[in-house]
Amino acid sequence: MTIERSPKDPSPPPNGDGSALSAEAAVAMHSDPRFQLLKQRLYRFIFPASAAFLAWYLLYVLMSAFGRDVMGTVLFGNVNVALVFGVLQFASTFGIAVWYTLYARRNLDPAAADVREALQQNREDAS
């Protein structure tokens, strides 16, 4: 496979305070186990969780379109399956947001801090 660089750009992408992250440091860090751990932890949560809530939402929309009999089933009083299903969409949205926040605080933020620290360390060693 041929690998080609994009031609030198007249305006490089913005890079924060400039000193913070060089391309060489980023390439080295990209295969560093500390970054791999962060990436793995992030992907392990966000992709399955996104697939799950999108499937759950799609099921709701499909049921609203094609499962009218089920959706119209009265559970008690004026409460039917459609209403409960809708309220559950609210509940799952709040729930996933809270779950992700706890997960990120415990697993992602420390791993990201490790990566930033390692980059800082490498820079100091180099100078």
């Binding site: 305006s11 992408p13 929309v61 009083g77 609210f90 949205t93 926040t101 933020d109």
Partner: protein, 560 residues
């Protein structure tokens, strides 16, 4: 005769209170704008409010950006007239925030600077990709803006209670609509031009508080009439609506047409297409994305989305009560008589509830409060759209494309202000010309374009190593052109009773909502474009990913 006279006095006193509240709000927000303008010095101040807002502040501003008049009055009205389907709409709007939370907000905050184009062009050739990002930002924002402003003109006339044939301060209904459009247009332009992102954000924070309190007050009062028994309220609403299946899906979307199985199938596919646009569109709306740049770091971006989800979720649950309340207490006929789309259901409910609880004056005051909350909702959303457009024009198009990245911060701010002025003028003129047209579909179209052109390319940029310039361009333009093109050839534009162009029929695409087809087209274009180009830059991909995931090298809050 006596009744008529009484009604006139109610209208008069309510109008007076409404005008006083409108004026107070405008004065307060202009004061904020002047104050913020004095503090806005650098480009980061102008585009991103110095990145120094707290998560709660940004969460309120996110809510304000998102809870437009279309979602406040529109969804309440839809629930009031069509029952369950209005609720279905709000669910798509809410669940969409999980896409923003899990896949976009933090990574975007870490890797970009001022605009959506920053992230899309990070790994790519700057000029073509930034041009595409800017085009897409402008199209989405102008469509959304146009829908809001045309709605605003009509709403202000309605909120002030000016009926056809009546006059108020010497204005008839048609003049009041134009005045409404011009006032909203001028205010949003002033907020952005003079206050920048800092001013706009503070205006949005104030408005979120007004909107939430107004809606909460009305919700509690409505529920109190039913002894806080939501079930009883819903039963009454279903009965008063006079329609069977009011508490089930199907009265507005995915309508089953008797004896026409094909049309029924199209209607149901259209519901799914709409659902897809709602859930995937939010995280691709430029005015929402740039909000993540206004906080100091990615954790704050995460927290602000959480605040946003909490506020927006609560708000839509309250809208459910308001919509059913209006159906039960105001009634189908009375709502339709005021506005066929049901946009005045919430204000009408306010008047009815106020009158039931505290007599006529209370009705007038409550109506004025809700009218002001709706006015606030309009203003804060349009201001957010103007700043997104002007930032993209100045940062992506002027600086990166025309000046090849050599413009200074103060030049960029100057151009952004001129751009805001230009967008404001264009929006006012377009809205005045479009006001006779049925443009409500433009909000759904803006979501469909965001879902097709923006979100797939943002995600592929962040996660797909092989992705490149040709892929990004194909994805953005493919999504944009297919979404707009399909709507152009749909029953929305021609060939139906409610079409934009009446008396013509060139519709061959059966779905009013294009996302079901245009999202796959965009992804296909992005993949094919990528694979047919040899360009591949692992270095920049590593740079983007390390920066996006860890926050190393991310833009810092500016010092003050």
């Amino acid at each position: 005769m006596i009744e008529l006279a009484q009604e006139a006095t109610t209208n008069e006193s309510s109008r007076l209170v409404t005008v006083v509240l409108f004026s107070l709000m405008v004065a307060a927000t202009l004061g904020i704008t002047v104050w913020a303008g004095r503090q806005t010095k650098s480009a980061t101040d102008f585009h991103s409010g110095g990145r120094s807002f707290s998560p709660l502040q940004n969460g309120l501003a996110i809510g304000s950006d998102y809870m437009s008049a279309a979602s406040f009055l529109g969804i309440a009205g839809m629930i009031a007239l069509f029952g369950y389907d209005g609720f279905l709409y709000s669910i798509g709007f809410l669940v969409a925030w999980l896409v923003a939370l899990l896949l976009v907000a933090e990574l975007l905050r870490n890797s970009g600077r001022y605009t959506m184009g920053d992230v899309l062009s990070f790994r790519m050739q700057q000029r073509p990709v930034r041009t595409a990002a800017s085009v897409s930002t402008l199209v989405v924002s102008i469509f959304y803006l146009l829908a809001q402003m045309v709605g605003a003109g009509a709403l202000i006339a309605l909120l002030l209670g000016i009926q056809e044939g009546q006059t108020f301060l010497g204005m008839d209904a048609a003049t009041a609509k134009i005045v409404g459009i011009v006032v909203v247009g001028l205010l949003m332009t002033v907020y952005v031009t003079f206050g920048g992102m800092k001013g706009t954000t503070w205006v949005q924070i104030v408005k979120a508080v007004i909107l939430m309190s107004g809606a909460a007050l009305l919700t509690v009062l409505t529920l109190s009439l039913y002894g806080f028994n939501l079930g009883a309220l819903m039963g009454d609403a279903a009965q008063a609506s006079g329609q069977s299946g009011f508490l089930e899906p199907g009265l507005r979307y995915g309508v089953e047409v008797e004896g026409d199985a094909i049309q029924t199938m199209w209607n149901k596919l259209d519901l799914i297409s709409l659902g897809l646009a709602l859930v995937l569109g939010t995280a691709g709306l430029p005015h929402i994305l740039i909000r993540f740049y206004t906080v100091p770091d990615s954790q704050s971006a995460r927290k602000s989305v959480n605040w946003g989800i909490g506020l927006i979720g609560t708000f839509y649950l309250m809208t459910l009560v308001l919509g059913f309340g209006a159906a039960a207490l105001v009634g189908h006929e009375a709502i339709r008589a005021q506005d066929a789309a049901g946009n005045t259901a919430a204000p009408q409910l306010a008047q009815t509830v106020g009158e039931t609880i505290g007599g006529e004056m209370a009705g007038a005051v409550l109506l004025a409060i809700i009218a002001s909350a709706a006015f606030a909702a309009i203003l804060s959303t349009v201001a957010g759209l103007v700043i997104a457009s002007s930032s993209s024009l100045a940062h992506d198009f002027y600086n990166s494309v025309i000046r090849r990245g050599k413009a200074t911060g103060s030049e960029e701010v100057k151009v952004a202000k001129i751009a805001a002025l230009a967008v404001g003028v264009v929006a006012i003129v377009l809205a005045i010309f479009a006001q006779g047209l049925n443009v409500a579909f433009l909000v759904a179209l803006a979501f469909a374009i965001a879902a097709s052109a923006n979100l797939p390319t943002i995600l592929l940029s962040l996660f797909w190593k092989r992705f490149n310039t040709r892929g990004a361009l194909a994805g953005i333009y493919g999504g944009l052109i297919s979404a707009v093109g399909l709507v152009f050839f749909s029953p929305v534009v021609s060939g139906s009773e409610t079409a934009l162009i009446s008396g013509a029929d060139f519709a061959w695409f059966p779905l009013p909502n294009p996302a079901l087809v245009s999202v796959p087209i965009s992804i296909l274009c992005a993949v094919v474009g990528t694979l047919t180009s040899k360009e591949q830059d692992f270095e920049k991909f590593a740079l983007l990913q390390v920066r996006a995931l860890s926050g190393a090298g991310a833009e810092k809050a500016s010092e003050h």
